[in-house]
């Protein structure tokens, strides 16, 4: 009998050292049917898993930046919990990516050893929305509302994809994301329909975030090929549903709806062309792994 439930972990890993910066715990996909569905290109599927996984991973890291710096203690806990849900989704998707693309890369290889131009996440999730001078709590909530609304609609449809791993991640994810979305919506409502100061800052927040909305629905050749074989969802198909949700929240919060267009057209997160803010957030996330390769504890 163990005195502490956590003693079991050290016994478990007595002769199995872990990367100091990695997970190394367990094969996350044990027990999940992992054959590549027939007719699906493994390299394409791997890239799609990276897109979905990187969205979750990078936003999890951004949310973690609020730890101990949110407006109230409860919100520290909330943002950390939301980040943890997303990190769990990312681990499964990145493990799947390395399994189907033929490279054999692990979730840690993807998270810690890729440079910024190999990340496939949307620009939306990499933006510095605070804490600190780069943003504001209101901007973080505007982004969380947009992201969780979009990902909820996407994962809802991905429950019926032919890839058993994505389908299983989606089935778990929809429940989590619905909760994240409602949480963000409550804050946007509270700040938008609050004081003159909170309204001003909430409006500035949606004005800052909205230009990144068009990218969510942009077509991509890899996704297009996977849609043909029922392995992916066309993001354009969720646009009406997502906008309906977002507009309902903004109207209830007495906020005006900004344009979803952005001028600078050469950036494309899905193709690895990112803002400098991604390299900045990865610099923190990957610092230990890159300065002490192979470190264990």
């Amino acid at each position: 009998m163990n005195d502490s439930v956590y003693d079991g972990l050290s016994e478990e890993h007595a002769d199995d050292a872990r990367w100091a910066y990695g997970t190394g715990f367990h094969d996350e996909l044990s027990g999940v049917d992992r054959d590549i569905p027939s007719g699906v290109d493994g390299a394409d599927l791997g890239l799609y898993c990276q897109m979905l996984g990187d969205d979750a991973l990078v936003l999890a890291q951004r949310l973690a930046e609020w730890c101990s710096r949110a407006p109230e203690l409860e919100e520290d806990v909330a943002l950390a919990n939301i980040g943890l849900d997303l990190l769990g989704q990312a681990r499964l998707l990145l493990t799947r990516a390395g399994e189907v693309d033929g490279t054999g890369r692990s979730e840690d290889d993807f998270a810690y050893l890729r440079p910024a131009d190999q990340f496939r996440n949307l620009l939306l999730v990499e933006l510095d929305c605070g804490p600190g001078p780069g943003g504001d709590f209101a901007v973080t909530m505007a982004r969380l509302l947009v992201f969780s609304s979009f990902r909820l609609s996407l994962l809802y449809r991905l429950q019926s994809t032919v890839d058993p791993v994505i389908a299983a991640v989606a089935a778990k994810g929809v429940k989590e994301l619905a909760y994240h979305r409602d949480h963000a919506a409550q804050w946007v409502l509270r700040l938008g329909d609050g004081t003159a100061e909170s309204h001003r800052r909430m409006q500035a927040a949606v004005d800052r975030i909205w230009p990144y909305l068009d990218e969510l629905y942009a077509p991509h050749p890899v996704v297009a090929r996977l849609i043909e074989v029922d392995a992916a969802v066309d993001p354009a198909d969720v646009r009406a549903e997502v906008e309906d949700t977002l507009h309902r929240v903004l109207r209830a919060a007495t906020l005006s709806i900004p344009s979803p267009h952005r001028e600078s057209g050469e950036l494309s997160g899905r193709d690895g062309r990112h803002t400098p803010e991604l390299a900045e957030v990865l610099g923190t996330m990957q610092e230990l792994a890159r300065s002490l390769p192979g470190a264990v504890w």
């Binding site: 016994e11 909330a78 849900d85």
Partner: protein, 163 residues
Amino acid sequence: MGAREIAEQVLDPELPVLTLAELGVLRDVHVEPDGSVLVTITPTYSGCPAVDVMRAQLRNRLQDAGYAQVNVRSVLSPAWTTDWITDEGRRKLATAGIAPPNRVGPRVAGPIPLNLEPPSATVPCPRCGSRNTELLSRFGATACKALYRCHGCAEPFEHFKEL
């Protein structure tokens, strides 16, 4: 004791008043003809850090009981729901001061509706039974709990969120 009975008695690391069976995460225990044990569990939340501890605990207990070869696998589908917490599990949660989740039931098909209203106070206080309670925080000390306050007895309490 058989492998199933041993596995059923392993406690949840985050809520040690509940067994993994009562929490509904223990899906199957199968002893192969060669004596090896295959345990199937399902995680509560995608990022729940307790899953690794659950695996280790299951393996250690079964190995202590003489099952040399133990494999613990996790299945994601069908996704865990709080409806799988047993009646006994709910009773133990309430006794420990944690308000058990309401029954969710099968969800109707179609997009999940946005909820802009503050949650209605349908969570009775596990200490005094008052229904005059208030949500303090939608997130608590673990992924699966929210924080409430009772206006009847003035005590704060945790609520196991419906999932």
